[in-house]
Symmetry: C2
């Protein structure tokens, strides 16, 4: 059971490496290799358990059929679900995936991106954590790059993302219509677009509500349970406590919920809760959580298909694709 290569097959069939290569890569007809020869080669390949060396192939062809995917935290259900969709779609198109976890660190992300380049991936899908698009833009001159979930509005990098402004508007207006008057928004990582857009939507709704909103406030700095817990806890201890909380992520919501429970405040009567993003378990909470659900499937598949286009047809899109996809309000009973 020695290692099998094109050469070993060539030897045992009495043919040349070229011919074997052409047969095994399906180009037999194209090169007018005879039926008999094709058969002979295929049989021998099977018998000898030949496995093509994709590393060698990659070196020669300059295509690896590998896509680099970098996300801020693969343990986070949101990114796990998104990755699941992306990986599945890529597989259907014949790509494999190098996965890197930037752990919300720009320097780790940079390492991962450079690794992708060094490994000659055919394309990159990134949920960027860096504050600057510079590295990604630079890389995108060489290899196709598509962003998902997070993005840089003014950079030349295509992206697929939830319309966070619209979603935030929707959530806030829903709270106001329900009669809540003092709303606390607990925001996440201040530097990323989704967070900024959610702030914009929230403010816009609060400011143009014809007096429905008596007071509003924005606090917080991370998409974490801890942040939700801390900010909410402080607010609940203050003189004029909010009567509704808009959590900018599902983790934030869980933290907020924890604080609310500890203060013995009842949901949704004494305080309303709404979340941006679902987490798969909100329906099992008591009360089930009303939320804005993100179009994960559209984001993931959109990014994959665009990337594939860019790889196949060259980067020749007239304009950079920048897609904001509408999220949906899913009403439950937390407000």
């Amino acid at each position: 059971m020695k290692k099998q290569t094109l050469l070993t097959i060539a030897n045992s069939t009495g043919l040349s490496v070229s011919t074997v290569s052409r047969v095994l890569s399906g180009k037999g007809e194209k090169y007018r290799i005879s039926k008999a020869t094709i058969e002979k080669v295929k049989i021998e390949a099977l018998k000898s358990h030949y496995v093509p060396d994709l590393v060698a192939k990659g070196l020669r062809t300059k295509r690896t059929d590998i896509i680099g995917l970098v996300v801020p935290d693969i343990g986070n259900p949101f990114f796990a679900s998104l990755s699941s969709i992306i990986i599945g779609d890529l597989k259907k198109l014949g790509y494999n995936v190098l996965l890197a976890d930037s752990m919300e660190s720009a320097s780790e992300e940079a390492i991962a991106l450079n690794m992708f380049v060094s490994r000659k991936v055919d394309g990159i899908i990134a949920v960027p954590v860096s504050k600057s698009p510079d590295l990604l833009e630079n890389i995108s001159k060489t290899v196709p790059v598509v962003l998902a979930d997070r993005y840089f509005p003014d950079a030349g990098l295509p992206y697929f993302c939830t319309d966070n402004y619209a979603g935030s508007l929707m959530a806030t207006n829903y709270l106001l219509e329900k009669g809540y008057k003092r709303i606390l928004a607990v925001r996440g990582l201040n530097s990323v677009m989704p967070d900024k857009e959610r702030v914009r939507g929230f403010l816009s709704a609060c400011k143009s509500c014809n007096g429905k909103c008596v007071d509003y406030e924005i606090e917080g700095n991370m998409f974490s349970v801890r942040n939700g817990y801390d900010v909410t806890g402080k607010a609940l201890s203050s003189a004029e406590r909010p009567d509704a909380i808009f959590a900018f992520s599902s983790n934030i919501l869980l933290g907020a919920l924890m604080a609310v429970k500890e203060h013995g405040i009842s949901v949704p009567d004494e305080i309303g809760l709404i979340s941006f993003d679902n987490n798969g378990f909100f329906d099992y909470l008591n009360p089930a959580v009303t939320r804005i659900e993100q179009p994960l499937k559209e984001i993931g598949s959109g990014a994959v298909n665009l990337l594939n286009d860019m790889i196949r047809n060259g980067n020749k899109a007239r304009d950079t694709v920048k897609k904001l996809i509408q999220p949906a309000l899913v009403v439950r009973s937390s407000c």
Copy 2:
């Protein structure tokens, strides 16, 4: 900004490719390259933005520093968390990760494993879904393989896994001590060891309980919310309904909880619930869920470290490492 290779650097410095290679791969001293030359090469590499071609390097050295990781469902929080640990630990050791999602399909898994071999990964970590160890054992003759979470007890494949028998025993005994007498165990995928071992633990506890247990039953066939919901629903509608449910996974528990709620039965008074495996949100449920927590960190890190050993020191372990790690009972208020 042309593509830079060792050759381009060799030309612009007036040195040979060999020398440049040796300097840039840190073997300068070893080959007694002069300080001056080393500096010159490094400067030029920086100036020209040289990036090593890891594909070419891989072909030449037969090492890729890539590990293949295949899991049944990366969207599942359990596998996402495990993957997060594994990927993080691998990165510290200088490995990158090709991730494949077998979607609980043995044929998809086989495709992924063969892809790993073809791509010349240095090692493989698998959470296998196949019922037979044949393919994995065969592959492990060529490239180091370590299993995590799921395993084949009699195969020559090393694994790191929760002691599911002990955990199941613990959970069941806890229910019995709490006074529950009619226990329904909702099991998952019948063909995998963790499930079988949990069954064994459950039966063992029920049978040797000195009459504490009046009735017990086992049903189910998937680690899914749906399965938990269906099995529980049916049981609750039966004449002698169970007074406690032992869910063999967190997803199953959620399904069971849903059914329990729909039947208007109160937890933990009318029915007790316990789960094998945590999901990160059990503490936010009402009541919070008592569960057996799996030692994810030990499993992930253990697998990574063993694999690294096998790669570095050759497969020369005297005996195949087979580690069952003790889980922990985390008491909350669902039973």
